[in-house]
């Protein structure tokens, strides 16, 4: 991957649910290009197509048409270019959710090491990688703590570390700050910005959160299945 190549490039992506007169066009030609290390916001009212776009980018539902390139690798062009979408998600796409959804009976290190291990990395190497990620997120001192022993903020950071474990070119964050107060929400955004720079990972943050909106340099507003790019304030935290 070269630095000039976008982390994610979407061209005229469409998604139609159903067929015939009852068909619904959830995406009507979405275009998007995000550079490595960039953090962008994806906003829009309910039913605008945000979740559908996220599911298409997350390779869990198949678009109807268009193109989708991930760090130079063509993923979709009117059909999936890979047969094993599970491996694609595991190796090339990171996910962060509103809740951490970690495995409660594993410790923080094992939760993060799970992804490399699923990709076939040996246990000691996967654990070493996990520890690096936890260090990058300043939770290495809690590496042996089981999930219920961690605070909400620590759990969220472990979840971000898990998303980064296989060093994906893109992370999809689905309302990551929704349940947090202003201070904690901005802290999460700060972490996203730092990690995006450090790991050259593009992060798409789907949000309704007005608190973090000013922190994005670019915002994609999705309305009626189409994206409209808007400049953000890019406020430093």
């Amino acid at each position: 991957m070269t630095t000039t190549e976008p982390a994610i490039l979407i061209e005229n992506l469409t998604k139609r649910y159903g067929s015939g007169p009852t068909a619904v066009d959830a995406l009507k030609g979405v275009d998007m290009s995000i550079a490595p290390g960039e953090v962008v916001g994806l906003i829009g009212p309910s039913g605008s197509g945000k979740t559908t776009l996220l599911k298409c980018l997350g390779a869990v539902i198949e678009p109807t048409s268009g193109r989708f390139t991930l760090a130079g690798e063509e993923i979709y062009d009117s059909a999936w270019k890979r047969t094993d979408l599970r491996a694609l998600r595991r190796d090339r796409i990171g996910f962060v959710f509103q809740a951490p959804y970690l495995i409660p009976f594993l410790d923080a290190t094992d939760n993060v090491a799970l992804l490399p291990m699923l990709a076939g990395v040996k246990n000691p190497v996967a654990r070493a990688t996990a520890l690096d990620m936890l260090t990058a997120l300043d939770v290495q001192h809690r590496s042996h703590a089981r999930i219920p022993e961690l605070s909400g903020g620590e759990q969220q950071r472990v979840a971000i570390a898990r998303a980064l474990a296989n060093k994906p070119p893109i992370i999809l964050a689905d309302e990551p700050t929704a349940p947090l107060d202003s201070e904690r929400a901005l802290a999460v955004v700060k972490i996203h910005n730092r990690l995006a720079q450090d790991f050259r990972t593009a992060i798409i943050v789907v949000t309704h959160d007005e608190k973090i909106m000013p922190t994005f340099k670019r915002i994609f507003n999705i309305r009626d299945g189409k994206t409209y790019e808007e400049p953000g304030e890019g406020r430093q935290i």
Binding site: K50, T51, L54, V60, R89, F97, L115, L118, A119, L172
Partner: protein, 270 residues
């Protein structure tokens, strides 16, 4: 002669006191105990006590005081048993009626080199005698008495196993349905189906292991106060453990099927 191991008495003093009280009422204080043996029970599972042959005969054939008095009066009134001028006759007849020479069974130990079957066949040539070898006795006990009880217990076990499997299946299924979002996330981040299935099965097996050891501990703890002696041998316990695990593994199938049907897309969005 009293033959009680000190340890047994110490461990089961309460039971011996209760049993001893019952025996006392039954056979009186004149009998001599030949021994009480640990884990020696009748075919019905009731505890056994060993007494001398003389006392056993007395316990079985000795009449109560009222009967003796009535018999004495009846004999005294009978001129054939109490001829006038011959008091010795009445005493002889009374002695004959209160004593018994009858023996129900005799235990024979055959010397080495002799075939028990041949010895038994030889005895059976005598009229009114039946001889059983150890194998015959075992067959009577196992094939008749124990087999019937075993069939009854097996029926209970099968019903219990089905009910247990249903309970485990219900618990695991409910737990799985409560984790739909978590499972969807695991699938979304690339976890293989067999890994998710293994996690659910581990949960079910864990439930089985905990249940088994709690049950075994409780059984061991409560066996002494159980009305009948229950003997759970190591091999049986291991077999029960394996059966428990198999039941739990089978019970998890429903939950695994439900988990594998979860769509990873459910992890994204509301």
């Amino acid at each position: 002669m009293i033959n009680l191991a000190h340890r047994d008495v110490a461990n089961h003093l309460g039971r011996y006191l209760v049993t001893g009280f019952g025996l006392g009422l039954l056979i009186g204080v004149t009998l001599t105990m030949a021994g009480v043996y640990r884990r020696m029970v009748s075919s019905g599972g009731d505890p056994m006590v060993f007494i001398t042959l003389k006392d056993a005969q007395e316990a079985q054939f000795l009449k109560d005081n009222e009967s003796i008095v009535n018999d004495r009066n009846r004999l005294a009134d009978n001129p054939a048993a109490n001829p006038p001028g011959q008091p010795g006759v009445l005493e002889a007849v009374e002695a004959l009626q209160t004593a018994s020479h009858r023996v129900n069974a005799v235990l024979i130990r055959v010397k080495e080199g002799h075939d028990p079957r041949q010895v038994a066949d030889g005895i059976e040539r005598w009229k009114h005698l039946t001889a059983y070898t150890s194998a015959d006795m075992e067959d009577i006990l196992v094939a008749k008495l124990i087999a019937t009880a075993a069939r009854q217990i097996a029926l209970f076990l099968i019903i219990l196993a089905i009910v247990s499997a249903a309970i485990v299946a219900f618990i695991i299924y409910t737990m799985t349905l409560g984790k739909i979002k978590e499972i969807a996330v695991l699938k979304l981040i690339g976890t293989r189906d067999r890994t998710i299935a293994a996690m659910i099965m581990q949960e079910a097996l864990g439930l089985g292991v905990i249940g088994f050891f709690v049950g075994k501990f409780a059984a061991t703890l409560w066996t002494p106060v159980f009305p009948k002696h229950v003997l759970l041998e190591t091999n049986d316990a291991m077999g029960a453990f394996v059966v428990t695990l198999v039941i739990c593994a089978l019970a998890s199938v429903l939950a695994i099927r439900a988990a594998l049907r979860i769509d990873p897309a459910e992890a994204i969005g509301g």
